[in-house]
Each structure stands twice: as C-alpha cells, then as structure tokens.
C-alpha cells in the first residue's frame, strides 16, 4: 500500500473537490488544437507544481480557477491559434420542471465557445456565480472593468444569437 505524503494528500483532496470546476473550464477551452484530456492533465500538472507556493492568501477556489484559466489561455497562445471549443464532453441535465430546453442551452453554449479566450474566462466565472471582486482577482482585471466587459459580452452574445436567427 502506498502511503501518501502531505502534499499528495492535499493534491488528491483538492482535485477531487474541484474536479468538476477544472473540467468545465477545460471543456470550454478544448477544441481541435487543444484536446480536453491534454488541457485537463496540463491544469493538474500546473496545480501540482504550484501547490508548494500556494500560501493560502487567496481562496482555494480563486487559485484553482486562476491556474485552470491561465493554463488554458497559455495553451492556446502557445499553439498560436485559437479554435472555438468542441463541446462534445459537456452534458446537460435538463431541469425536472422541463422549463429550459436543451436546444437553447446548447445554442448558447456554442455561442460562448466562439468568444475570445479572456471573454470566455469572464463569462465562465460569471456562470459559476463568482462575485465581480473574485472574477477581478482571478483575471487580474479591475472590478469596474469586469462589470463593463461582462455587460459587453452579454450584448455580444445577444447579437450573435440574433445574427444566427437571421
């Protein structure tokens, strides 16, 4: 039986707790040049390497989001091109009331996947119900700027949806 060290235990705890968060970020950034599995593994490797330097000054979730988003954006920059995501790995569980339609959901998801890397990070954090202050911390953008940019992104999504209908 393998005895885990403190660091290994911490890593296993963190990854099991935030697995879904990391996976969702990676799924939104994955695409033809960036397979989901590679992105996910890259994020985990960066978390592992950065675990020693995490001093607990920020919230764990802030640190995880920052690592995941930075890794995904860096991956795309390194590959010198940005492809819209292939959303094959994302599955949606419809509401029990049947209020929301899966079709609309996937249409919106598809529109979000076409956003630029930073806009995508902002909208992902907003979708995950992060407050503006935390989004600002994660993305290193001022809180006021986060609000402005999110407003623009929402308008942009609306315009993209309207264009799609035409």
């Amino acid at each position: 039986m393998k005895v885990l060290t403190d660091k290994e235990k911490r890593f296993v705890d963190i990854t099991s707790e935030y697995k879904d968060v990391i996976a969702k970020v990676c799924a939104l950034y994955s695409g033809p040049g960036a397979p989901f599995d590679d992105l996910y593994q890259e994020v985990l490797a960066n978390l592992w390497q950065g675990l020693d330097s995490f001093r607990g000054e920020a919230k764990m979730s802030t640190w995880i989001y920052r690592a995941a988003i930075n890794t995904c954006i860096t991956w795309h920059r390194r590959n010198d091109r940005y492809n819209s995501a292939s959303l094959d790995s994302l599955t949606f569980e419809p509401d029990e009331s049947g209020d929301d339609s899966a079709e609309n959901y996937y249409t919106l998801l598809n529109l979000i996947s076409r956003l630029g890397p930073v806009d995508k990070a902002l909208i992902t954090l907003w979708l995950d119900e992060k407050p503006y202050e935390e989004i600002a911390l994660i993305t290193s953008i001022s809180t006021a700027n986060v609000a402005v940019r999110l407003h623009r992104i929402k308008s942009k999504l609306g315009k993209m949806a309207a264009d799609m209908e035409e």
Binding site: F11, Y40, T91
Partner: protein, 199 residues
C-alpha cells in the same frame, strides 16, 4: 439583447452541466506525475537536440581550418590543432547527445531518473569547462602567433571576435542550463521526501 437569450436561465442550467470524460475517472496523482515526467523528458530531449546541433557546428571547424593558413598565414600545425579540436568536440557532443536521447525518464523510478539527470548536468559542466579552456588556449595561440608574424595587425578584430564568441557561448550555455534545470525541477516536484512504499 434579444429576449430569447436568457443568460440568467442559462446560468442556472450551467450549474447542472457535467463533463463526461474517461480522464476524469483516472487517479489524478498518477496521471499528474506522468504528465510532469513527460515534461521533464521533453526538456531533456530538447537539450539532446541542442547538443546534437553543437556537434554539427563543431564539424565545420575542420572545414574552416585551411583558412587559418591561407588568410592568416598561420603555420600548418595550428590549423591542424584547430581542426583536431573540432573533430574531437563534434564526436564528444555527438556521443553526449546520443546518451541523452537514450534516457527514458518515464520508464525509470523517479529517484533514478533524478540521479541520471544530475549526472547529465555534471557531465555537461565538465564538458563545457574543458571545451572552454581548450578553445581559449587555441584562440590565444592563434591571436599571439598572428600578431607575432604580422606586428601591424590590430588586435581589435580579434577582440571583437572573442567577445562575440563568448556572448554566443554564454547564451547557449544559459539556455542549456535552463533546460537541464527544468528537467531536474520537474522530477523534484514528483519526488516527495517522505514518500515510501510499504507492504
């Protein structure tokens, strides 16, 4: 924004979104350690490629050796020493590159892999230091002989060449040093001091 785009509703649906991938069911620790070992291996292979290129560059030295006789009017033996140094340097680098390429970090236990990388670092330092001392000796020999044969020669051209050469060598060494350090650091991240396997 058109009415049919209801982001707030979408946000609620996003909470019920799951990612289905086989990767998520793998043990994160083992998977991560494999990825980090892969990175270390990739850094080491980049170093091997650079050493191999150095070997090809050193192969050019015997080709340029006759110029020492025809352009600088130096004695044949200096050209021979210069060419011989090029051949030896090329051979040593080629063997070194092949040895690095043969290392399969992923197949080794981490402690052994780390020890292999440290040996490569030590060998790199020894090899570079020896090459540097011999190269400086040959350069001093070429410069002093040239100036002795033709006192009208200005030392500025030599000085410029030496400084330029030193800068290139330093930059190259710095890059190689970073690659081997990255490899070692990646392996150290995997290695945990208290890790032990017990039955």
């Amino acid at each position: 924004m058109p009415e049919d785009i209801n982001l707030d509703k979408f946000r609620a649906a996003w909470q019920r979104t799951n990612v289905s991938s086989e990767t998520l069911s793998h043990d994160p620790l083992t998977m991560t350690q494999k990825v980090v070992t892969g990175r270390a291996h990739s850094s080491l292979q980049r170093l091997a490629r650079r050493v191999r290129i150095s070997s090809y560059v050193a192969m050019c030295m015997p080709v340029f050796a006759p110029l020492l006789v025809t352009v600088l009017d130096l004695p044949y033996w200096i050209a021979a020493v210069y060419a011989f140094f090029g051949i030896v340097l090329s051979a040593v680098n080629l063997v070194f590159a092949r040895n690095i390429e043969a290392v399969r970090l992923a197949q080794l236990p981490v402690v052994t892999a780390l020890s292999v990388v440290q040996n490569i670092r030590r060998r790199m330092i020894c090899q570079r230091a020896t090459s540097f001392v011999i190269a400086i000796t040959i350069i001093v020999l070429i410069v002093s002989t040239s100036m002795h044969l033709d006192p009208s020669l200005s030392g500025w051209e030599f000085a410029f060449g030496i400084v330029l050469g030193l800068l290139v060598a330093m930059k190259k060494f710095h890059r190689d040093w970073r690659l081997i350090s990255d490899t070692e650091n990646d392996l150290r991240y995997i290695l945990s001091p208290k890790q032990q396997d017990v039955e």
